[in-house]
């Protein structure tokens, strides 16, 4: 078994309990400078009603214990810094460290959103340059950097669409969403006050253009499309789709989650998209950080510009920039302050490092996906055979014969030293294996991945139990998710014996 696993070997890692269990009164990890004004009595300052003695249960530990605690926890995680992270649709690419460095500079991290605009020109120039870069990459006319993540970008985009229709008379009722879409699309449409109508993909996984013609009624506000689709396939009919929608006064929204296939090669603004969001934590490399933060700028055509959320960056005479908060047609504010500014800083640092070279990144991402596809085709079932862009979607149909499913293969991949691909998505592929290598993987790493996948396919045929019970090498084995949901334990509580004081 072990000689088949080339990328990883086991090594000891440290056990570590919850920090609350290490606590002992009197220890501390943080000391403040001495108070340089007279100390007030909290009871007098606040009144007895409002006063609290201290937070019950808060940890009392020393600095080295804190550092070791979190360092130990960190070693239980997989990370891009350790190797390929082929999660389809997530674009887990290298997170350059210079981006972290510049986001922490004095004068960047230290700035307050309410400081005078004359003292914020540096922040404004950063925002301005990022806006210009994103417009050039998307081919759109206007952009807002406000949304905090992709899903909030989607909401912002749909609110722009709604405001546009309202201005023309009525908001309309429905948003069309393909069955291959991310779950955020339908969830967002509902918050924007729309009914969701799902549209079925045709046999190649593309939008059925003829059917669409019938589905676009005067009630339809927009179609939300992901391009390339979640199958990693470019929606070839997108200009016609745009025409059909526009003929009925509906708009085309593009989920930009898969922009890593397009940047520098083609521009949504050129092929009929009216409004789209970008995930800066995907395409533009801001770290995913275990689930966030992200940023979800929304780029749009000129006619949607008046509806942009506030605040809006405006250039005055002499190049002075200012943030304006009052716009008559604006959809309002979607988040407090100026977007996830620190994330925007990192994305700009990434774009500046590449310049027009972003095209090379896109090419390498598509090259990697196709290289993996070529080597795994036949080993795994390829349900849709149209050309792949930045990701490839297989199914577990061949392995199912031995009762091995995509989740089992994914878990076995962990033993081989890789993070799993995306499992069971998109929903239109039963038992999907959705693989997105990104441009950050070398040929060597791709080859190791291909070897691992082939080896697991062989195991699925010869020793299926080995795959079905994977992972075998992790700190914990498969966890009981049913029990977790049935009787949720969502916080630590002191046990009876350590709790005698309460």
């Amino acid at each position: 078994m072990t000689d088949r696993i080339k990328k990883a070997s086991r090594h000891t890692n440290q056990n570590e309990g919850l920090i609350f269990e290490k606590s002992s009164p009197g220890k501390r990890a943080f000391e403040l400078p001495p108070l340089d004004v007279p100390a007030v009595d909290p009871a007098k300052a606040l009144g007895a009603n409002h006063r609290r003695e201290g937070v019950d249960g808060f940890p009392e530990v020393s600095e080295i214990e804190v550092l070791r605690h979190f360092t130990r926890l960190s070693t239980w995680n997989y990370a891009i810094d350790l190797g390929m992270y082929p999660l389809g649709s997530c674009t887990m690419k290298y997170n350059p460290r210079v981006n972290e460095f510049v986001a922490r500079l004095d004068g960047i991290a230290t700035e307050h959103p309410y400081q005078p605009q004359d003292l914020s020109q540096g922040c404004f120039k950063i925002l301005r340059l990022l806006e210009q870069c994103l417009l050039e990459i998307t081919g759109m006319d206007a952009v807002t950097l406000q949304p905090a993540a992709g899903a909030q970008g989607e909401l912002t985009g749909l609110l722009l669409i709604r405001a546009y229709h309202e201005k023309k008379g009525a908001p309309r009722k429905k948003v069309l969403i393909p069955d291959s879409a991310h779950g955020t699309n339908p969830a967002t449409a509902v918050i924007a006050g729309y009914e969701v109508e799902n549209i079925k993909s045709e046999s190649h996984g593309q939008i059925d253009v003829e059917k669409l013609r019938d589905q676009v009624t005067p009630d339809v506000a927009a179609l939300m499309i992901t391009n390339p689709s979640t199958l990693g396939i470019f929606e070839q009919n997108i200009p016609r789709i745009a025409e059909i929608l526009h003929a009925k006064g509906a708009l085309l929204y593009m989920d930009g989650a898969n922009m890593n296939a397009l940047a520098g090669v083609t521009r949504p603004g050129d092929f009929g998209v009216d409004v789209m969001h970008l995930n800066l934590h995907k395409t533009f490399s801001t770290p995913h950080g275990g689930g966030g933060p992200g940023a979800g700028p929304v780029a749009m055509k000129k006619f949607l510009e008046p509806f942009r959320p506030v605040p809006i960056l405006v250039e005055k005479e002499g190049g002075r920039l200012t943030l304006e908060t009052v716009r008559p047609d604006s959809i309002g504010r979607v988040k407090a302050f100026s977007g996830n500014f620190g994330v925007l800083v990192r994305a700009l640092a990434y774009i500046l490092a590449y310049g027009p070279g972003v095209r090379q990144a896109t090419e390498d991402a598509v090259l990697n996906a196709n290289y993996i596809r070529k080597h795994l085709e036949g080993v795994f079932d390829l349900p849709y055979s149209l050309p792949s862009m930045h990701e490839v979607v297989f199914s577990d149909a061949l392995q199912k014969k031995n009762a091995v499913n995509t989740m089992d293969i994914a878990k076995r991949l962990i033993d081989y030293g890789f993070h799993p691909y995306t499992t069971a998505f998109p929903l239109i592929v039963p038992g999907a294996l959705m693989i997105e290598p990104t441009e950050s993987e070398s040929k060597e790493e791709c080859d190791l991945f291909i070897d691992a996948m082939k080896s697991i396919a062989a195991e699925a045929a010869t020793t299926p139990e080995l795959v079905k019970t994977a992972p075998h090498t992790t700190r914990v084995r498969r966890l009981d998710e049913v029990a977790a949901a049935r009787k949720p334990v969502l916080r630590w509580k002191p046990s009876a014996k350590s709790n005698t004081a309460d």
Binding site: V55, T110, E111, P293, G342, F425, E439, L490
Partner: protein, 448 residues
Amino acid sequence: MRYLPKSPTERQQMLAAIGAKSIEELFSSIPERYRLHEALKLSGPFSEAEVIQYFKERAAENSVGYTSFLGAGVYNHLRSVITDTILQRGEFLTSYTPYQAEISQGTLQAIFEFQTLMCQLTGQEVANASMYDGSTATTEAVLMAERLTGRRRILIARSVHPEYRDVLKTYAKNSGLQVEEVGYAADGTLDATALRAVLKDDVAAVVVQSPNFFGAIEPVAALADIAHVPGALLIVAITEGVSLGALRPPAEADIVAMEGQSFGLPPSYGGPFAGVIASRDKFVRQMPGRLAGQTTDSEGRSGFVLTLATREQHIRREKATSNICTNQALCALAVTVHLTLLGKEGLREMAHQNLSKARFALAELEKIPGVRRAFSAPFFNEFTVELPRSVKLVNAQLMREKIVGPYVLGTAYPELTKHALVCVTETTTRSEIERFATALRRVLEQPL
């Protein structure tokens, strides 16, 4: 390009393996007329040194060298270098959402500890793994209250952060929610009489902030009693978490929406921060956002997983409790590390320093003729003073002395153009406070 790990030869080898003649062939599914044939007009590529230089130049155009008395939802607090040291560990920084629990136990346990810390702080029973920020957490708390009560009228205090109220209005507009504002009393807290007059059995939630936007601490327990009479929920928004080191937690609230920025996150021109929703166990299935839970593996070892996912968009699609997917996980980790460092004693001491410094600052300012405290309710580290003239004009003059003056309440409250919201934290030194008071006195002594 330094981020790309392939040589030209390797690219050719890979193309050959695929059976493609050129890279262009891999893009053949994009209709020819939409393919770009010219390079994008982007400046760069830049070396690491040039990238750093660009941002240093921008930083120099900002407020470096100024002393600030701004709070208003974003606070300067001490942070330990330990927090950033942990955040920059690649295993935390460059990992994805912990859906694959077996190789994400570090992130999952940290989230579990975050949820616990948030419960301990707020006096609530359950807390989620983070929302975008305090403003969207407040809005999501309102949407949660709507689901829990089946009612659509929302009463929100005017003393809730103006931008939080704006965000709520944006979301509410299309959700069929009717948002009404309730004014403030002479002491700066919510006007309870006005609240009682409009509070009926069609109200889903009463939303207050404490300490509120004027700095006044709201009587949360009493407001909960009022809200509960006709069956409304009480939502308490918290923008300044450090206050909870000295203040009774809002345990009587039904939902708490907190901004965690004060706990280890720099102001960063307004984000990324860490919102959180905390509530009662019985409401957990209507909570938005991710939750980590404790369970066991197939061999009986304890471990953590993301749980109750049937609330979330990737499972429930249009029936989800929220559309949130990416949250603020790394910021929540910063909060967790920071609060663990502070611990019980550190947080208490920090909170008490804030109390002492703010009172010292108020006393210094009150010595200036024409300056008076505007509201009498108890406060934490922010308070409102009324000046004898427009705060905007005063601030313009303070800037010449390298002081970023207090928040101009007139920006959001037209009736308060002479009112300033002053924030003083443990990071503000006595001499800075004295310099501010001296400068303000000098400004006010000059004729208009």
